[in-house]
Symmetry: C2
Subunit: 497 residues, 2 copies
């Protein structure tokens, strides 16, 4: 086969994948609309629109003509070679799954998610157990089929769907070591906290328009350009849209501002990643974000590393006081640090502090691996959860609503996603450390409310790399080493110990 024919096939593939990406962009916009502005009466039609676009996308991916082009295609240059490899991987994953299995899983997930909402409200695991058993059964079949196509273990083949370039064999020792670190660090952090003055709660109400203006200003300071972005409201904050039109949301409560503001800074981190993806490979697999752990590293480096740094709190405090008035001591940087770095063991993952959050993730990683591996029966999940939780955080959940029923993920068929949260937190610390070394004056800039030096480095080292590298290789090229949890524990030690 001639190289000219190989190149022609590759060019055709770029067109095919761009079309698939455009269907994805359309779905992203319809999803944003559903979450942010859609009237409730539009829900049923929206579900069918999203399902139809997903079906069309799948048909384009399993088209035999696309497979023929993949067989013929040749690419040269690191980016195009990586792009072609990612095309092949995406097509292998799509064709590995029989349509019947995909549809059965989609139906089982939808049915289970509906029952889960009732079961969680009633804290009644037994109500949802048979539905979850069906979801797990179909996810195990999915994992087995993907495993054949990818050559990875079944669990890793699911994990790859969320994050390429790292697997359970990497994660397990890292998480085990964190458990050991936490056993020592958590009581020390609690003791230290108890010996210091308690945080003063700022007194509201905090007018929603003032919160909105503040959030928008801070997102802009972090580098978000509102000619290519929107900030709206939704029940659960998220970052959606497309790289040239990114949509973040938050939720305002008149009685508190921290959640909305920190939520906006978190979603801004996601949005900046999308905005910084390489435009030369827009709508190509290699031009996408590198995965969910990489994405979470970018939200957390803005929210946890930069925005809660001493330097940035020194800038932020007077702005908060100017926005909301009242007692200035509540907005003093030291008080903001106490407020936003408070350690507290709790049952709910999404309310957890930076130190204990990984324990929530470690538990879920172990349990979902056992569920997919067939080593844990769904009926035994509540017991295994409570036992594992007690071992990690020394507390026993009083009910399943505060235990294994709290998160939607499994009940919606998402297995292999949870590790991304903590891999992202660890990568954020590692990237921040590398950025501080590489970029002189980074913290001084944060002290002026200026995130541009940090953002410039992230654009070069992370955003602009697209999906050229898997998670570990991305970190190695950016920081000189594979994922190294020591940077995260050093960050935690400095902040909490």
């Amino acid at each position: 086969m001639s190289s000219a024919a190989g190149n022609a096939a590759y060019q055709r593939l770029k067109g095919r994948f761009a079309r698939i990406a455009i269907l994805g962009e359309s779905q992203a916009m319809l999803h944003w609309d559903a979450s942010a502005v859609m009237p409730p009466g539009g829900a049923a039609a929206r579900g069918e629109q999203l399902a139809t676009l997903a079906g069309l996308s799948h048909e384009l991916m399993i088209d035999p003509a696309l497979a023929a082009d993949l067989g013929e295609a040749e690419a040269s240059g690191a980016w195009d070679v990586a792009n072609l490899a990612l095309m092949r991987e995406a097509q292998r994953r799509a064709t590995a799954l029989p349509t019947d299995l995909v549809e059965a899983a989609a139906r089982a997930n939808a049915a289970c998610e509906t029952v889960w909402r009732e079961a969680r409200a009633a804290s009644d695991f037994r109500r949802v157990a048979p539905y979850l058993a069906e979801v797990v059964k179909l996810q195990r079949e999915t994992a087995a089929a993907l495993s054949v196509a990818t050559g990875l273990s079944p669990y890793d083949s699911l994990m790859q769907g969320f994050q390429r370039g790292i697997g359970a064999a990497d994660v397990e020792p890292i998480f085990d070591a964190y458990e050991a670190f936490l056993r020592d660090a958590l009581p020390r952090a609690e003791q230290r906290q108890a010996q210091r003055p308690a945080a003063i709660e700022p007194r509201g109400p905090f007018a929603v328009p003032a919160q909105q203006a503040l959030c928008r200003d801070m997102a802009q300071r972090a580098g978000l350009d509102f000619t290519h972005a929107r900030l709206d409201e939704s029940l659960h904050p998220f970052c959606g849209g497309t790289p040239s039109d990114v949509r973040i949301t938050t939720r305002y409560e008149p009685g508190a501002f921290s959640q909305a503001l920190l939520g906006v800074l978190h979603e801004t981190g996601h949005a900046l990643y999308e905005r910084g993806l390489p435009t030369a490979y827009a709508r190509q697999p290699v031009g996408e974000a590198a995965g969910m752990a990489a994405h979470e590293s970018q939200s957390l480096i803005i929210e946890m590393q930069a925005s809660r740094s001493d330097a940035f709190l020194g800038f932020l405090g007077p702005r908060l006081h100017a926005a909301f008035g009242g007692d200035a001591t509540a907005y003093a940087p030291e008080n903001l640090a106490r407020l936003w770095r408070r350690v507290a063991r709790g049952f709910i993952r999404i309310e957890a502090d930076e130190l204990t959050y990984p324990a929530h993730v470690i538990l879920r990683f172990r349990l979902e691996r056992a569920l997919i591996g067939g080593d844990l029966a769904v009926a035994d999940l509540p017991g295994a959860w409570n036992e594992g939780f007690a071992r990690l955080l020394g507390l026993t959940p009083p009910d399943d609503a505060r235990g294994c029923l709290q998160d939607i993920h499994w009940y919606d068929g998402a297995f292999g996603y949870f590790p991304s949260y903590t891999l992202g937190a660890m990568a954020a610390a590692q990237l921040m450390r590398a950025a501080r070394i590489a970029v002189p004056g980074l913290d001084e800039a944060l002290g002026r409310g200026d995130m541009a030096p940090l953002l410039g480095w992230l654009r070069m080292r992370v955003h602009g790399q697209g999906s050229r590298l898997g998670f570990q290789d991305l970190l190695r090229e950016a920081t000189g080493k594979l994922l190294d949890p020591a940077d995260f524990t050093a960050h935690l030690a400095e902040r909490y110990l």
Copy 2:
């Protein structure tokens, strides 16, 4: 061929057309988003998203498997027979046009529209003339190809793309008669107006939040259910979205409220039509609105017939005064009638009053028919425009910006659309007359701000009919006769003479 096989083919076709309709719904939502909320930086990507969805839709329509099903399909019952006939028509129209021609026309339209914006701003027809010549050439080729497929004349085959069931041979005598009516009626209306007290302009400013609340309230009173609808702002008011999630927009100016309010009532008429389409045939050709003239009849029956009726003005006046305060005499129903029924010859179609508006449309109908027929060269358009305008309204446009450059339609490749405006106005009068006869107490209800009796009749006679009938047959079943301009001129005579 067995009837079972014929029915199976028809059922498959319903699935195929539902998929095509869902792509259309997705495009409608992306179009709304682009007009109402999209940040400017999203425009380029949005254009590609819309073009890709349109391309996928076209591919589904020209799929040989769809053609095979159309060949086999059998349907029974009036609705399904009509649905199958509409499927065949849609497929014939789609396959009649070579892909090269469709793409060339899309490119020519986009290029011409861009140049038109500059040409209109500079009032320089010559700048855009070569682009318009290319557009017209490709529209003539399109019309010729569609003519072969439809058996209609070239112009009628374009018109059919906007409104089925009426053609130029029907329209021509109706428009000629209106010209004759206007020659007598316009001077009389002007004279009568001059002899009456001048309308008092309400004094602003009119706070935008108060306008928004008023517009929303009036749309609800007209029957729009905001669990299935939104009201937003855009540069040009429009009605978009889907039947279960309809999106109307308007534009608020603090210095005036009439335009926003009447615009909302107009778009509400469109929205109510979409909301009232037969759900049993949702996403099927027969379940769609009957065409652009039918659609305009529904916006105008709400805006022009119901909302500007004496009865409704009697209800509205005190509400306006309550909303905006100031001098009550400006909101007296008699004054609102003078304000909103003012006759004034002018050059601009979209600013025209109810009486002279058809003259603008008649001119465009004649000229576009001549352009498509090859009887008028693009270079001669400004002269023909000005001559025709002077004959119809006795004024000569001082420049082409106020003449043949004012409307986007032709410069964007839309030929055969203009008659819909006046056919819609005439149908609105005819339907209103029939509704008044059929529904006792209709005007008394309008006097209480209650449009439910009118809406109930429209739902039964128009909205719920979908596309089962063409324009003329729809009117005949609803009113007992084909389009009868005498109802429109009687309405005008009562209001203006």
